[in-house]
């Protein structure tokens, strides 16, 4: 966050020292207090409880739980499916953003609005809809089964399908504004210097879009790793084959194995933090690359 719009220190001349540091406007104490109270109650204390619970296990026990074969298999399925879904979303999300920004076609506003559907549709609803659609007697599932011999629902492929649905808007909505901001002059210049269209795309546009593309990819991936609602319906949830890590946490919880559930949750949490850090770095990069005053 820049300090650009903070009140300049000069404003505060004559105010008390504390105010000089913070700013001139009133309400710092009250709003900071409410913000911190809210964040502590909802975020900090619960997460500390989680860490404490798993720390109570001791290192050896913790390691045993988080590297048990069934748990490791669930990481492989969760991360594998999230990566694959994010990669597919990267390609198709970029195409969708490109088409929405560059090609006028009838009904574009409606299609543009539709892209946000996964943000608005409850994940459980998406889950049962996708399962019905891709089950053996569903509209798409029947086609895939008879013509290609592919079974989607109740297999790992189903997980990928659900995560594609969940992650798509992240890529589109990250790339779209950057694409809208790109000035026509750059492409004009490239073309006048003799670049073919494909060269312009690869050498001029792609490097400009790269940070946004990667941010969208990372956001879709992060969302996919934590996703629960839409996946559990379509996955079939077979241990070692199609059981995702969040479901394993719920399973342990239902067996009243609170410590085991916490240990796995800490692993997921750690990954979330790492991804959050990557996303922040990517957004800084994008702000610099875009030449915007960050």
């Amino acid at each position: 966050m820049s300090s650009r719009s903070d009140p300049a220190p000069g404003h505060a001349a004559g105010a008390s020292p504390r105010r000089t540091r913070a700013g001139v406007l009133p309400g710092f104490g009250a709003s900071m207090g409410y913000t911190l109270l809210y964040l502590s109650l909802l975020v900090l204390i619960p997460l500390v409880a989680l860490l404490c619970k798993s720390a109570g296990l001791g290192w050896a026990e913790f390691w045993n739980i988080v590297t048990a074969p069934r748990v490791v298999a669930s990481y492989r399925i969760t991360f594998g499916a999230s990566l694959l879904a994010a990669a597919i979303n990267l390609v198709f999300g970029a195409i969708v953003a490109w088409v929405l920004v560059r090609y006028p076609f009838p009904g574009r506003r409606l299609v543009d609005a539709l892209v946000d559907l996964p943000f608005a549709l409850p994940t459980a609803v998406a889950g049962i809809a996708l399962t019905t659609l891709y089950a053996r007697n569903g509209w798409v599932g029947e086609f895939l089964q008879t013509w290609l011999g592919i079974k989607v629902a109740y297999t790992p492929i189903g997980i990928v399908i659900a995560l594609i649905f969940i992650g798509l808007p992240f890529v589109v909505r990250t790339v779209q504004p950057v694409l809208e901001d790109i000035e026509g002059e750059l492409e004009e210049a490239a073309a006048s210097l003799g670049a073919r269209r494909w060269q312009t795309l690869r050498r001029v546009l792609l490097p400009m879009l790269l940070p946004a593309l990667l941010t969208g990819f990372a956001l879709a991936f992060a969302r996919g790793v934590g996703e629960y609602g839409s996946v559990i319906f379509i996955a079939g949830n077979m241990p070692m084959v199609s059981e995702i890590t969040p479901l394993l946490i719920v399973t342990k919880l239902e067996e009243f194995d609170y410590a085991g559930a916490s240990a796995i949750a800490v692993v997921l949490l750690l990954l979330s933090f790492i991804l959050l850090l990557c996303i922040n770095l990517l957004q800084h990069w994008q702000a610099r690359r875009g030449g915007r005053p960050a």
Binding site: S5, P7, A22, G23, V24, P26, G27, F28, A30, M32, Y34, T35, Y38, L42, V43, L44, P46, A49, I95, V99, L100, A113, L114, L117, P118, F119, A120, L121, P122, T123, A124, V125, A126, I128, A129, T132, L133, W139, L168, P177, D181, G184, R197, L219, A222, V225, G226, E227, Y228, P246, V250, Y258, S262, A265, S272, F273, L275, L276, G290, P293
Partner: protein, 303 residues
């Protein structure tokens, strides 16, 4: 809008890309949406009505509305307070505060539910004490509210921070020098300036509140007719092979999603129009306008 030939792709490439994009969206977004309504109506109107008029379904709908109605004002107050602190003052740890606000977007909802169980469950830190005083949080309505608050609190703040950042504090400082007090500034200057951002954040957070599943399913205990929200009710019906009834309740949630999308687009459309008007009114201020657009885009990413 039409680009010259050397600045766009050959006709067949454009056609192919358009086909790919629309085909992909049709397959992954439109078909599931149609499925919800088709399945809901597959067994006829009578069964649809019965599924929704069922007492358990009614209880679920009421609980969902109640939780959403309680979460909204709390989240609005948090959003304004957090955005006020972050955009109007300098202090150490601001970046950390912003990261904390972003956290619910990347933490798995299941992990959130688990954390609340560890705190307030009967084995948890405060669980025993609360139980002795007759308070039940986990497997009860307060737990559902807490889980909903966690997953929804960033939406309003995330919308307001870039908006208030780009507006700057000149108007509020001016009001202060003219003798206005804190509440007066908030009511007369800040709130009117951010009303559309506030509405936008409220709509997004409300949609998420009514649709949350993972976190709520861990803490609710799924007591039918008591701690069962609409999404949980959909799951129960689906797992009992009452598909048409499950989709009937799901269709209400899908309708809510469509209303949310429509409202969101209406606000964006109004916003864009106001911006262009502002742009043509003051050509000299156009620099600020692009800046505002740039500042608001990272927030939209998360919406």
């Amino acid at each position: 809008m039409k680009r010259p030939a050397h600045l766009t792709e050959p006709r067949w490439v454009r056609g192919a890309l358009l086909f790919l994009a629309l085909g992909f969206l049709g397959l992954f977004l439109l078909l599931p949406l149609i499925t919800v309504f088709a399945e809901a109506s597959s067994k006829g109107w009578a069964l649809y009505r019965d599924a929704i008029a069922d007492p358990d379904a009614w209880a679920a709908i009421r609980l969902t509305l109640w939780v959403a109605a309680l979460a909204l004002p709390l989240n609005l107050a948090f959003g304004v307070a957090a955005a006020w602190v972050i955009t109007r003052f300098r202090f150490r740890g601001k970046q950390f505060l912003i990261t904390l606000i972003d956290l619910p977007f990347s933490v798995s909802p299941v992990v959130v539910g688990l954390a609340f169980v560890l705190l307030f469950g009967s084995q948890g830190w405060f669980g025993g004490w609360l139980e002795n005083h007759g308070w039940k949080i986990i497997f009860a309505v307060p737990g559902v509210l807490l889980a909903t608050l966690f997953v929804t609190f960033p939406f309003v703040a995330r919308e307001l921070i870039p908006l208030m950042q780009s507006q700057g504090s000149e108007e509020e400082v001016a009001a202060l020098t003219l003798g206005a007090g804190g509440w007066q500034i908030l009511r007369r200057i800040t709130l009117p300036n951010i009303k559309w951002g506030l509405l936008y954040g409220a709509i997004l957070s409300n949609a998420r509140a009514m649709g949350e599943f993972g976190a709520v399913s861990v803490v609710s205990g799924r007591v039918r007719g008591e701690t069962d929200t609409m999404t949980l009710h959909v799951e129960i019906l689906y797992n009992e092979y009452q598909f048409a009834a499950a989709f009937a309740v799901a269709s209400l949630l899908a309708l809510l999603a469509l209303v949310t999308l429509a409202a969101k687009n209406l606000i964006e459309w109004r916003d864009a129009r106001a911006r262009t008007r502002h742009d043509s009114l003051s050509q000299s201020a156009s620099g600020n306008v692009t800046l505002a657009a740039a500042a608001s885009s990272p927030g939209r990413v998360y919406s």
